[in-house]
């Protein structure tokens, strides 16, 4: 009977030839092609746990008396948003573990996207004809970071409220439109009543839908254009060597999904994340220290902390200090990311389509530039924890900040130069691995 049903469906939809073709699609074997999949599966887990959380979360700043089982807050007036997160954490069965899995999966989602982006960048997989997928990928990263921040802001605890206040100040710092934008988005003076409800709509509907749609487009284009592959025996510009989707690659991919599920569940169950009961409810007159954003906003936070207190007046307008590190820098960052495939094509005058990947050494200049850029953002990232480092090392915060200011400008060129020489040497010596490369190849690359 099942056979007859399947045949009947096929006669009407003609799906079997498509399915046969799809199941025979070849995926390259190299492990680094699976990094993007880690992000994909983290997103799946985010959606699953997010649906559970949305059944209990209340996106409202209306006041309510907390009556749950966390003793220090019993009888305290808190917002409905904070109240519902506290209920999720202490009184809803499996609520806390779902919250924690959701949060860990968010951190992993963006981390995997960043590593995936690095893989694409350093192997030149963004070159023609894959510029569109690069642009979609960068947009996914941007949306991921944005949705991470909105999620971080929802519980209305003291830490997230501090984050929202910083976001509010950043919005205010934009010349001309800043004040209007801040009022429009927040719905009034900070802390406005509308913001939590609006963030919720953005966080659980608009951005996830956009991410889902873009992931579908990302995969469809990948499917259509076929995978890139590393050069090697039997690998040419016109073929893909590897395993078929069914059964080999399906088994690998399902295993990876289960692994992502296992790791997020393990972290969610064993390692505490965002203990909002200790942070306490948000009150505009209170602040906590140390106060950091989640890691993916660390580079912006670090830039805010390192920026000297310069203020500029232009055309009769004051440009407030946060504008440079928190609006201009991220703006330039993503603009350059979006434009990179076209910039590189213009600089190298290489307008040909490429399906075989570069190894990092094949393009020493690109690799060096990428390494220097990563160094810049990594230093900014670590600068976001200047107070924690100062406490750990028992030195003055100002000393740490000064050292980071020097590092953020000084270290990238050094790293870039060293990487450039290493790549040149590796290429010239013809060695397969770093460990096999003679030192003389780095010191005298021309010989």
């Amino acid at each position: 009977m099942i056979k007859r049903f399947v045949r009947g469906m096929d006669e009407r939809l003609g799906a079997s030839s498509f399915a046969r073709q799809a199941l025979n699609k070849v995926f390259p074997d190299h492990w680094s092609f699976m990094i993007g999949e880690i992000a994909l599966y983290a997103f799946v887990i985010l959606v699953l746990t997010g649906v559970f959380l949305s059944l209990f979360f209340e996106g409202s700043t209306g006041e309510v008396v907390y009556e749950g089982s966390y003793e220090p807050l019993q009888g305290v007036e808190v917002s409905r948003a904070y109240n519902s997160v506290m209920e999720l954490s202490y009184d809803v069965r499996a609520g806390l573990v779902m919250r924690q899995i959701h949060h860990w999966a968010a951190l992993l989602f963006i981390a995997a996207m960043v590593v995936h982006l690095c893989r694409i960048f350093f192997t030149g997989a963004f070159r023609k004809p894959r510029e569109i997928n690069w642009i979609i990928g960068v947009t996914l990263l941007l949306l991921g970071i944005f949705n991470g921040f909105t999620g971080y802001s929802l519980p209305d605890d003291l830490l997230s409220g501090t984050g929202l206040r910083i976001a509010h100040s950043i919005a205010l710092s934009v010349p001309l439109v800043g004040t209007w934008t801040a009022f429009l988005v927040f719905g009034g003076e900070f802390p406005a009543e509308d913001i939590i409800g609006r963030l919720l709509v953005v966080h659980i509907m608009i951005v996830p839908a956009a991410i889902g749609g873009l992931i579908a487009a990302h995969l469809a284009i990948l499917w259509r254009q076929k995978h890139t592959d590393f050069p090697g025996p039997g690998r040419t510009e016109t073929n893909v060597v590897g395993s078929k989707l069914w059964p080999t690659y399906a088994a690998k991919s399902v295993s990876l999904f289960l692994a992502v599920f296992a790791v997020t569940a393990l972290l969610g169950g064993l390692v505490q994340i965002n203990p909002v009961w200790l942070y306490g409810p948000f009150r505009p007159e209170q602040v906590s220290s140390p106060a950091q954003p989640d890691w993916y906003m660390g580079w912006v936070e670090g830039a805010l902390r390192l920026m000297p207190a310069w203020e500029l007046r232009a055309f009769g307008f004051e440009i407030p200090n946060p504008f440079y590190p928190a609006v201009l820098l991220p703006g330039i960052t993503f603009l350059l990311l979006y434009a990179w495939p076209f910039l590189e094509a213009r600089f190298t005058k290489d307008l040909e389509p490429h399906h075989l990947l570069d190894r990092a050494r094949d393009q020493p200049a690109r690799t060096a530039l990428g390494a220097a850029t990563l160094t810049f953002y990594t230093v900014l990232f670590f600068a976001a924890s200047n107070d924690l480092i100062a406490k750990l090392l028992e030195v003055r915060v100002e000393t740490v900040t000064t050292i980071y200011r020097i590092l953020v400008l000084g270290l990238p060129p050094v790293v870039g130069y060293v990487v450039f020489r290493l790549m040149k040497g590796l290429l010239a010596s013809g060695a397969e691995r770093f460990t096999q490369m003679p030192l003389s190849a780095v010191l005298h690359p021309r010989r």
Binding site: I38, Y279, L393, E394, V397
Partner: protein, 269 residues
């Protein structure tokens, strides 16, 4: 082999030289052994261990401040002795919590002797924690303490501000300014710190809080030492920085390792 030993020996020498650099070549005064003060009078202990800097009458020297300027009272004397902040081995040493040098009895007799100088600072407070309200404590802690000591009580670093305000030798070196973690303080020590304001901490005395409010803050800090914490290992109570480190190393590290295994187990290329 012998070369390795030589390298290791050099390393040890260099490192120990570096770590010794902080302290003066000759000790400021004989080192104090723990428990040495048992059964001795407060006067003897003070003159032997404290008078070097604070003066034999408690009126201060160029190595240490006067105890008669109004801030010192039995509360502060008791606080610095029970938390091991005093006595220092040399005046420039960092003032921080260590093992106390004396037992309770000796501390009580030193406190009593210092009191006889005629100091006017606050006395050791009487606490009534049984009736203290945890909820009020949370609210007041968040408002007054969390900005420096952190909502979790993990402490934090502070901006140094003007460190050249004092010309006295004992305070002239720029130091890290740290609000310490609150996990080791006894209820009395917490209250003493509040009403005396040691180091850069402001005074939160009876001009600011009623006794009931002080009790409730103390109760909440004591609660923070063993909170009703859920969700697994609390990675330091310092929030997103530690969480990010875990996500990258344990989380993504593990997943990349698994991806790598899945990728290389696929047979010959």
């Amino acid at each position: 082999m012998s070369r390795r030993v030589a390298v290791a020996a050099t390393l040890v020498l260099v490192l120990s030289a570096c770590s010794n650099q902080q302290e003066p070549a000759t000790p400021f005064r004989p080192a104090i052994e723990a428990g040495e003060g048992e059964g001795t009078s407060g006067e003897r202990l003070f003159q032997r261990d404290c008078g070097w800097c604070h003066g034999s009458e408690g009126d201060g020297t160029d190595r240490g401040p006067s105890l008669l300027d109004g801030t010192n009272g039995s509360a502060l004397t008791h606080f610095v002795l029970t938390t091991g902040r005093m006595p220092l081995d040399f005046p420039q040493q960092r003032v921080q919590r260590t093992e106390p040098s004396y037992d309770d009895e000796a501390i009580a007799s030193i406190v009593e002797y210092v009191d006889s100088f005629g100091q006017t600072g606050p006395d050791i407070p009487d606490l009534n924690l049984d009736e203290a309200e945890l909820q009020l404590g949370l609210e007041l802690y968040q408002e007054n303490c969390a900005a420096c000591h952190s909502t979790s009580g993990a402490g934090g670093a502070l901006a140094t501000g003007d460190e050249t305000g004092s010309t006295a030798t004992y305070a002239s070196e720029p130091r890290a300014n740290i609000a310490p973690e609150v996990d080791a303080s006894s209820p009395t020590e917490i209250a003493e710190a509040m009403i005396t304001g040691p180091g850069t901490m402001p005074v939160f005395g009876n001009e600011t809080f009623s006794n009931e409010e002080i009790d409730s803050i103390v109760r909440y800090v004591v609660y923070l030492q063993h909170p009703d914490n859920r969700g697994g290992a609390p990675v330091g109570g310092i929030g997103p920085v530690a969480e990010g480190a875990v996500a990258w190393t344990l989380g993504l590290g593990l997943l990349l390792g698994i991806a790598r295994l899945l990728g290389t187990k696929s047979g010959p290329p």
